[in-house]
Symmetry: C2
Subunit: 185 residues, 2 copies
DNA sequence: TTTAAAACGTACAGACTTGTCTGTTTTCTG
DNA sequence: CAGAAAACAGACAAGTCTGTACGTTTTAAA
Protein backbone atom coordinates (compact mmCIF):
# COMPACT_ATOMS: atom_id res chain seq x y z
CA UNK A 1 0.00 0.00 0.00
CA UNK A 2 1.34 3.39 -0.93
CA UNK A 3 2.31 5.44 2.07
CA UNK A 4 0.55 8.77 2.45
CA UNK A 5 2.76 11.70 1.67
CA UNK A 6 4.68 13.39 4.46
CA UNK A 7 2.53 16.47 4.80
CA UNK A 8 -0.70 14.51 5.04
CA UNK A 9 0.78 12.10 7.55
CA UNK A 10 1.84 15.02 9.74
CA UNK A 11 -1.64 16.58 9.68
CA UNK A 12 -3.29 13.24 10.24
CA UNK A 13 -1.15 12.43 13.27
CA UNK A 14 -1.40 15.95 14.66
CA UNK A 15 -5.18 15.97 14.24
CA UNK A 16 -5.58 12.78 16.21
CA UNK A 17 -3.27 13.91 18.99
CA UNK A 18 -4.49 17.52 19.19
CA UNK A 19 -8.09 16.37 19.42
CA UNK A 20 -7.90 13.39 21.75
CA UNK A 21 -4.93 14.31 23.95
CA UNK A 22 -5.08 18.10 23.75
CA UNK A 23 -3.02 20.69 21.95
CA UNK A 24 -0.83 21.43 24.99
CA UNK A 25 -0.42 17.76 25.84
CA UNK A 26 0.95 17.11 22.36
CA UNK A 27 4.60 17.86 21.69
CA UNK A 28 6.43 17.90 18.39
CA UNK A 29 8.12 14.63 19.23
CA UNK A 30 4.79 12.90 19.67
CA UNK A 31 3.62 14.12 16.30
CA UNK A 32 6.68 13.03 14.36
CA UNK A 33 6.68 9.65 16.07
CA UNK A 34 3.06 9.00 15.19
CA UNK A 35 3.46 10.38 11.66
CA UNK A 36 6.69 8.48 11.12
CA UNK A 37 8.46 11.50 9.65
CA UNK A 38 11.63 13.28 10.63
CA UNK A 39 11.62 16.50 12.53
CA UNK A 40 13.45 18.27 9.74
CA UNK A 41 10.82 17.15 7.23
CA UNK A 42 8.09 18.40 9.47
CA UNK A 43 9.70 21.82 9.75
CA UNK A 44 10.19 21.92 6.00
CA UNK A 45 6.43 21.56 5.55
CA UNK A 46 5.27 23.70 8.49
CA UNK A 47 6.81 26.84 9.92
CA UNK A 48 5.73 26.04 13.48
CA UNK A 49 3.49 24.01 15.73
CA UNK A 50 0.92 26.79 15.48
CA UNK A 51 0.95 26.48 11.68
CA UNK A 52 0.14 22.78 12.01
CA UNK A 53 -2.73 23.63 14.33
CA UNK A 54 -4.17 26.09 11.83
CA UNK A 55 -4.22 23.48 9.06
CA UNK A 56 -5.65 20.92 11.50
CA UNK A 57 -8.54 23.26 12.34
CA UNK A 58 -9.23 24.22 8.75
CA UNK A 59 -9.27 20.63 7.59
CA UNK A 60 -11.26 19.52 10.60
CA UNK A 61 -13.91 22.15 9.87
CA UNK A 62 -14.24 21.13 6.25
CA UNK A 63 -14.51 17.45 7.12
CA UNK A 64 -16.98 18.16 9.90
CA UNK A 65 -19.25 20.35 7.79
CA UNK A 66 -19.17 17.73 5.02
CA UNK A 67 -19.96 14.91 7.44
CA UNK A 68 -22.78 16.89 9.02
CA UNK A 69 -24.20 17.96 5.66
CA UNK A 70 -24.20 14.36 4.49
CA UNK A 71 -25.91 13.24 7.67
CA UNK A 72 -28.55 15.96 7.36
CA UNK A 73 -29.15 15.44 3.66
CA UNK A 74 -31.81 12.81 4.35
CA UNK A 75 -33.80 15.43 6.25
CA UNK A 76 -36.01 17.93 4.48
CA UNK A 77 -34.35 21.32 4.08
CA UNK A 78 -35.10 24.02 6.61
CA UNK A 79 -36.16 23.81 10.23
CA UNK A 80 -36.23 20.02 10.41
CA UNK A 81 -32.68 19.92 9.23
CA UNK A 82 -31.62 22.43 11.86
CA UNK A 83 -33.29 20.38 14.59
CA UNK A 84 -31.54 17.29 13.28
CA UNK A 85 -28.17 18.94 13.89
CA UNK A 86 -28.54 17.80 17.49
CA UNK A 87 -29.06 14.20 16.35
CA UNK A 88 -25.88 14.55 14.36
CA UNK A 89 -24.01 15.95 17.38
CA UNK A 90 -25.26 13.04 19.47
CA UNK A 91 -24.19 10.56 16.79
CA UNK A 92 -20.71 12.08 16.46
CA UNK A 93 -19.97 12.82 20.11
CA UNK A 94 -21.04 9.42 21.38
CA UNK A 95 -18.40 7.98 19.06
CA UNK A 96 -15.59 10.08 20.57
CA UNK A 97 -16.51 9.62 24.22
CA UNK A 98 -17.94 13.14 24.37
CA UNK A 99 -14.53 14.66 23.79
CA UNK A 100 -16.20 17.80 22.55
CA UNK A 101 -15.31 20.28 19.85
CA UNK A 102 -11.74 20.62 18.63
CA UNK A 103 -12.23 24.37 18.30
CA UNK A 104 -13.53 24.94 21.81
CA UNK A 105 -10.84 22.68 23.22
CA UNK A 106 -8.00 24.53 21.60
CA UNK A 107 -9.06 28.15 22.04
CA UNK A 108 -9.27 28.00 25.83
CA UNK A 109 -5.59 27.53 26.58
CA UNK A 110 -3.05 28.67 24.03
CA UNK A 111 -0.14 31.10 24.25
CA UNK A 112 -1.25 34.70 23.92
CA UNK A 113 0.54 35.28 20.63
CA UNK A 114 -1.02 32.40 18.71
CA UNK A 115 -3.64 34.62 17.08
CA UNK A 116 -3.88 32.58 13.90
CA UNK A 117 -5.55 29.85 15.88
CA UNK A 118 -8.13 32.27 17.31
CA UNK A 119 -8.88 33.70 13.86
CA UNK A 120 -9.47 30.26 12.39
CA UNK A 121 -11.74 29.18 15.23
CA UNK A 122 -13.79 32.35 14.94
CA UNK A 123 -14.06 31.99 11.19
CA UNK A 124 -15.25 28.39 11.42
CA UNK A 125 -17.86 29.27 14.01
CA UNK A 126 -19.11 32.10 11.79
CA UNK A 127 -19.38 29.55 8.99
CA UNK A 128 -21.53 27.28 11.13
CA UNK A 129 -23.80 30.17 12.16
CA UNK A 130 -24.28 31.04 8.52
CA UNK A 131 -25.21 27.43 7.75
CA UNK A 132 -27.95 27.54 10.37
CA UNK A 133 -29.27 30.88 9.14
CA UNK A 134 -29.32 29.68 5.53
CA UNK A 135 -31.28 26.57 6.48
CA UNK A 136 -33.78 28.51 8.56
CA UNK A 137 -34.34 30.99 5.76
CA UNK A 138 -35.47 28.11 3.54
CA UNK A 139 -38.65 27.32 5.41
CA UNK A 140 -39.32 30.04 7.95
CA UNK A 141 -42.19 32.46 7.76
CA UNK A 142 -41.53 36.12 7.13
CA UNK A 143 -42.51 36.94 10.67
CA UNK A 144 -39.69 34.90 12.16
CA UNK A 145 -36.49 36.66 13.11
CA UNK A 146 -34.21 33.97 11.73
CA UNK A 147 -31.07 35.96 12.53
CA UNK A 148 -31.99 36.08 16.20
CA UNK A 149 -33.04 32.42 16.31
CA UNK A 150 -29.85 31.33 14.59
CA UNK A 151 -27.83 33.01 17.31
CA UNK A 152 -29.88 31.22 19.96
CA UNK A 153 -29.48 27.85 18.28
CA UNK A 154 -25.75 28.46 17.89
CA UNK A 155 -25.52 29.04 21.63
CA UNK A 156 -27.41 25.79 22.25
CA UNK A 157 -25.04 23.89 20.00
CA UNK A 158 -21.90 25.25 21.67
CA UNK A 159 -23.34 24.69 25.12
CA UNK A 160 -24.51 21.17 24.44
CA UNK A 161 -21.10 20.19 23.11
CA UNK A 162 -19.22 21.70 26.05
CA UNK A 163 -21.58 20.40 28.74
CA UNK A 164 -21.68 16.88 27.30
CA UNK A 165 -17.90 16.85 27.49
CA UNK A 166 -17.91 18.02 31.11
CA UNK A 167 -20.58 15.52 32.15
CA UNK A 168 -19.49 12.76 29.74
CA UNK A 169 -23.14 12.17 28.93
CA UNK A 170 -25.65 13.01 26.24
CA UNK A 171 -28.42 14.68 28.28
CA UNK A 172 -27.19 18.18 27.36
CA UNK A 173 -27.57 17.26 23.69
CA UNK A 174 -31.08 15.92 24.29
CA UNK A 175 -32.05 19.01 26.28
CA UNK A 176 -30.61 21.30 23.63
CA UNK A 177 -32.61 19.59 20.91
CA UNK A 178 -35.81 20.01 22.88
CA UNK A 179 -35.04 23.67 23.50
CA UNK A 180 -34.38 24.13 19.80
CA UNK A 181 -37.72 22.53 18.90
CA UNK A 182 -39.57 24.82 21.25
CA UNK A 183 -37.75 27.92 20.05
CA UNK A 184 -38.77 27.08 16.49
CA UNK A 185 -42.46 26.69 17.26
CA UNK B 1 -0.15 46.08 55.74
CA UNK B 2 0.04 42.52 56.90
CA UNK B 3 1.10 40.16 54.14
CA UNK B 4 -1.34 37.40 53.31
CA UNK B 5 -0.24 34.00 54.47
CA UNK B 6 1.74 31.78 52.14
CA UNK B 7 -1.03 29.38 51.23
CA UNK B 8 -3.47 32.13 50.34
CA UNK B 9 -0.86 33.98 48.31
CA UNK B 10 -0.19 30.80 46.32
CA UNK B 11 -3.87 30.26 45.56
CA UNK B 12 -4.39 33.91 44.75
CA UNK B 13 -1.49 34.01 42.32
CA UNK B 14 -2.36 30.66 40.77
CA UNK B 15 -6.01 31.68 40.34
CA UNK B 16 -5.07 34.82 38.43
CA UNK B 17 -2.59 33.00 36.22
CA UNK B 18 -4.66 29.86 35.63
CA UNK B 19 -7.67 31.94 34.63
CA UNK B 20 -6.15 34.69 32.51
CA UNK B 21 -3.12 32.93 31.00
CA UNK B 22 -4.33 29.34 31.02
CA UNK B 23 -3.52 26.34 33.15
CA UNK B 24 -0.99 24.93 30.67
CA UNK B 25 0.59 28.31 30.05
CA UNK B 26 1.25 28.66 33.77
CA UNK B 27 4.31 26.99 35.20
CA UNK B 28 5.27 26.52 38.82
CA UNK B 29 7.91 29.21 38.50
CA UNK B 30 5.35 31.77 37.36
CA UNK B 31 3.18 30.99 40.36
CA UNK B 32 5.93 31.28 42.97
CA UNK B 33 7.23 34.49 41.42
CA UNK B 34 3.81 36.12 41.49
CA UNK B 35 3.03 34.78 44.96
CA UNK B 36 6.47 35.75 46.27
CA UNK B 37 6.99 32.41 47.98
CA UNK B 38 9.69 29.78 47.65
CA UNK B 39 9.19 26.61 45.70
CA UNK B 40 9.79 24.51 48.77
CA UNK B 41 7.09 26.38 50.68
CA UNK B 42 4.68 25.88 47.85
CA UNK B 43 5.31 22.16 47.81
CA UNK B 44 4.91 22.00 51.56
CA UNK B 45 1.40 23.39 51.19
CA UNK B 46 0.37 21.56 48.01
CA UNK B 47 1.29 18.07 46.87
CA UNK B 48 1.29 19.04 43.19
CA UNK B 49 0.24 21.53 40.56
CA UNK B 50 -2.96 19.57 40.15
CA UNK B 51 -3.71 19.98 43.86
CA UNK B 52 -3.37 23.74 43.48
CA UNK B 53 -5.78 23.65 40.55
CA UNK B 54 -8.36 21.75 42.58
CA UNK B 55 -8.32 24.34 45.34
CA UNK B 56 -8.42 27.14 42.75
CA UNK B 57 -11.56 25.64 41.20
CA UNK B 58 -13.28 25.02 44.50
CA UNK B 59 -12.60 28.54 45.76
CA UNK B 60 -13.48 30.06 42.41
CA UNK B 61 -16.82 28.26 42.42
CA UNK B 62 -17.68 29.44 45.92
CA UNK B 63 -16.75 33.03 45.13
CA UNK B 64 -18.63 32.92 41.85
CA UNK B 65 -21.82 31.49 43.31
CA UNK B 66 -21.65 34.08 46.10
CA UNK B 67 -21.09 36.94 43.68
CA UNK B 68 -23.90 35.75 41.42
CA UNK B 69 -26.28 35.21 44.35
CA UNK B 70 -25.57 38.72 45.61
CA UNK B 71 -26.14 40.17 42.15
CA UNK B 72 -29.42 38.26 41.77
CA UNK B 73 -30.68 39.05 45.25
CA UNK B 74 -32.28 42.28 44.06
CA UNK B 75 -34.42 40.24 41.69
CA UNK B 76 -37.58 38.51 42.83
CA UNK B 77 -37.05 34.81 43.50
CA UNK B 78 -37.91 32.32 40.78
CA UNK B 79 -38.03 32.71 37.01
CA UNK B 80 -37.02 36.38 36.95
CA UNK B 81 -33.94 35.53 38.91
CA UNK B 82 -33.04 32.74 36.50
CA UNK B 83 -33.42 35.07 33.53
CA UNK B 84 -31.23 37.63 35.28
CA UNK B 85 -28.40 35.10 35.40
CA UNK B 86 -27.63 36.19 31.85
CA UNK B 87 -27.39 39.82 32.97
CA UNK B 88 -24.96 38.67 35.62
CA UNK B 89 -22.91 36.74 33.03
CA UNK B 90 -22.81 39.81 30.83
CA UNK B 91 -21.76 42.00 33.76
CA UNK B 92 -18.99 39.59 34.80
CA UNK B 93 -17.67 38.57 31.39
CA UNK B 94 -17.46 42.09 30.02
CA UNK B 95 -15.11 42.84 32.91
CA UNK B 96 -12.72 40.00 32.02
CA UNK B 97 -12.62 40.60 28.27
CA UNK B 98 -14.90 37.59 27.69
CA UNK B 99 -12.26 35.21 28.99
CA UNK B 100 -14.96 32.67 29.73
CA UNK B 101 -15.38 30.12 32.45
CA UNK B 102 -12.41 28.88 34.44
CA UNK B 103 -13.95 25.41 34.54
CA UNK B 104 -14.55 25.10 30.81
CA UNK B 105 -11.09 26.50 30.12
CA UNK B 106 -9.31 24.00 32.26
CA UNK B 107 -11.18 20.80 31.47
CA UNK B 108 -10.48 20.90 27.73
CA UNK B 109 -6.76 20.33 27.85
CA UNK B 110 -5.27 18.60 30.86
CA UNK B 111 -3.15 15.48 31.22
CA UNK B 112 -5.26 12.33 31.18
CA UNK B 113 -4.46 11.37 34.76
CA UNK B 114 -5.58 14.61 36.38
CA UNK B 115 -9.00 13.25 37.30
CA UNK B 116 -9.38 15.36 40.42
CA UNK B 117 -9.75 18.39 38.22
CA UNK B 118 -12.50 16.74 36.15
CA UNK B 119 -14.37 15.67 39.30
CA UNK B 120 -14.32 19.18 40.71
CA UNK B 121 -15.50 20.74 37.46
CA UNK B 122 -18.35 18.25 37.18
CA UNK B 123 -19.35 18.79 40.78
CA UNK B 124 -19.43 22.58 40.42
CA UNK B 125 -21.54 22.35 37.28
CA UNK B 126 -23.98 20.04 39.06
CA UNK B 127 -24.17 22.66 41.80
CA UNK B 128 -25.08 25.36 39.32
CA UNK B 129 -27.75 23.18 37.71
CA UNK B 130 -29.26 22.58 41.12
CA UNK B 131 -29.32 26.34 41.76
CA UNK B 132 -31.32 26.88 38.59
CA UNK B 133 -33.73 24.06 39.39
CA UNK B 134 -34.28 25.35 42.93
CA UNK B 135 -35.05 28.85 41.67
CA UNK B 136 -37.44 27.59 39.00
CA UNK B 137 -39.28 25.46 41.54
CA UNK B 138 -40.03 28.60 43.53
CA UNK B 139 -42.39 30.16 41.03
CA UNK B 140 -43.20 27.65 38.34
CA UNK B 141 -46.58 26.10 37.79
CA UNK B 142 -47.06 22.42 38.44
CA UNK B 143 -47.41 21.76 34.73
CA UNK B 144 -43.89 22.95 33.97
CA UNK B 145 -41.17 20.34 33.72
CA UNK B 146 -38.62 22.36 35.67
CA UNK B 147 -36.05 19.56 35.54
CA UNK B 148 -36.12 19.59 31.75
CA UNK B 149 -36.08 23.39 31.51
CA UNK B 150 -33.17 23.63 33.94
CA UNK B 151 -31.14 21.37 31.70
CA UNK B 152 -31.98 23.57 28.71
CA UNK B 153 -31.05 26.76 30.55
CA UNK B 154 -27.82 25.19 31.76
CA UNK B 155 -26.92 24.43 28.15
CA UNK B 156 -27.67 28.05 27.22
CA UNK B 157 -25.43 29.31 30.01
CA UNK B 158 -22.49 27.10 29.05
CA UNK B 159 -22.91 27.91 25.37
CA UNK B 160 -23.19 31.64 25.87
CA UNK B 161 -20.04 31.70 27.98
CA UNK B 162 -18.03 29.65 25.50
CA UNK B 163 -19.28 31.44 22.39
CA UNK B 164 -18.75 34.91 23.86
CA UNK B 165 -15.14 33.91 24.54
CA UNK B 166 -14.66 32.67 20.98
CA UNK B 167 -16.26 35.76 19.44
CA UNK B 168 -15.03 38.22 22.11
CA UNK B 169 -18.47 39.78 22.11
CA UNK B 170 -21.65 39.73 24.14
CA UNK B 171 -24.21 38.82 21.46
CA UNK B 172 -24.24 35.15 22.51
CA UNK B 173 -25.18 36.26 26.04
CA UNK B 174 -27.96 38.47 24.72
CA UNK B 175 -29.25 35.71 22.47
CA UNK B 176 -29.14 33.19 25.29
CA UNK B 177 -31.16 35.48 27.55
CA UNK B 178 -33.83 35.88 24.89
CA UNK B 179 -33.96 32.15 24.34
CA UNK B 180 -34.30 31.63 28.08
CA UNK B 181 -37.19 34.11 28.27
CA UNK B 182 -39.00 32.34 25.46
CA UNK B 183 -38.41 28.89 26.95
CA UNK B 184 -39.94 30.08 30.22
CA UNK B 185 -43.11 31.45 28.65
C1' DT C 1 15.64 32.92 75.77
C1' DT C 2 15.39 28.70 73.45
C1' DT C 3 13.44 25.57 70.49
C1' DA C 4 10.48 24.34 66.89
C1' DA C 5 8.03 25.49 62.90
C1' DA C 6 7.72 27.84 58.78
C1' DA C 7 9.72 29.82 55.13
C1' DC C 8 13.50 30.85 52.16
C1' DG C 9 17.12 30.68 48.25
C1' DT C 10 18.76 28.00 45.11
C1' DA C 11 20.90 23.98 43.24
C1' DC C 12 19.69 19.86 41.30
C1' DA C 13 17.31 16.01 38.71
C1' DG C 14 15.30 14.22 34.90
C1' DA C 15 12.22 15.00 31.46
C1' DC C 16 10.21 17.62 28.00
C1' DT C 17 9.65 21.71 24.88
C1' DT C 18 10.19 24.04 20.13
C1' DG C 19 13.13 24.72 16.70
C1' DT C 20 17.84 24.49 13.97
C1' DC C 21 21.45 22.18 11.74
C1' DT C 22 24.37 18.77 9.25
C1' DG C 23 25.80 14.89 6.88
C1' DT C 24 23.56 10.93 4.76
C1' DT C 25 20.15 8.33 2.25
C1' DT C 26 16.30 7.70 -0.67
C1' DT C 27 13.32 9.06 -4.21
C1' DC C 28 12.18 11.54 -8.20
C1' DT C 29 12.91 13.72 -12.56
C1' DG C 30 15.13 14.87 -16.78
C1' DC D 1 22.57 7.57 -15.22
C1' DA D 2 23.19 11.86 -12.92
C1' DG D 3 21.68 15.54 -10.45
C1' DA D 4 18.19 17.65 -7.75
C1' DA D 5 14.69 17.31 -4.45
C1' DA D 6 12.84 15.29 -0.58
C1' DA D 7 13.33 12.96 3.39
C1' DC D 8 15.95 11.07 7.04
C1' DA D 9 18.53 10.35 11.71
C1' DG D 10 19.86 12.39 15.29
C1' DA D 11 22.75 15.81 17.57
C1' DC D 12 22.33 20.18 19.38
C1' DA D 13 20.60 24.54 21.54
C1' DA D 14 18.35 26.94 24.85
C1' DG D 15 14.73 27.05 27.50
C1' DT D 16 10.97 25.35 30.43
C1' DC D 17 8.66 21.89 33.04
C1' DT D 18 7.45 19.56 37.74
C1' DG D 19 9.22 18.18 41.71
C1' DT D 20 13.10 17.18 45.46
C1' DA D 21 16.66 18.39 48.59
C1' DC D 22 19.65 20.99 51.66
C1' DG D 23 21.66 24.45 54.35
C1' DT D 24 20.12 28.94 56.06
C1' DT D 25 17.05 32.46 57.87
C1' DT D 26 12.96 34.15 59.89
C1' DT D 27 9.05 33.74 62.66
C1' DA D 28 6.28 31.84 66.25
C1' DA D 29 5.49 29.61 70.43
C1' DA D 30 6.63 27.78 74.82
Amino acid sequence: MIKENVKDRIISAASELFYFDGYNQTGINKIIEKAEVSKDSMYRHFRSKEAIAVVYLEQRHKAWITDMTNYLSVKPAGQERVIAIFDYLNHWLSQVDYRGCGFQNIITDIPKNQNSIKEVVRKCKDDMLRFILDELNKTSSESMDTKEISNEIMVLIEGAIMLSQIQKANWPLVAAKKACERLLK
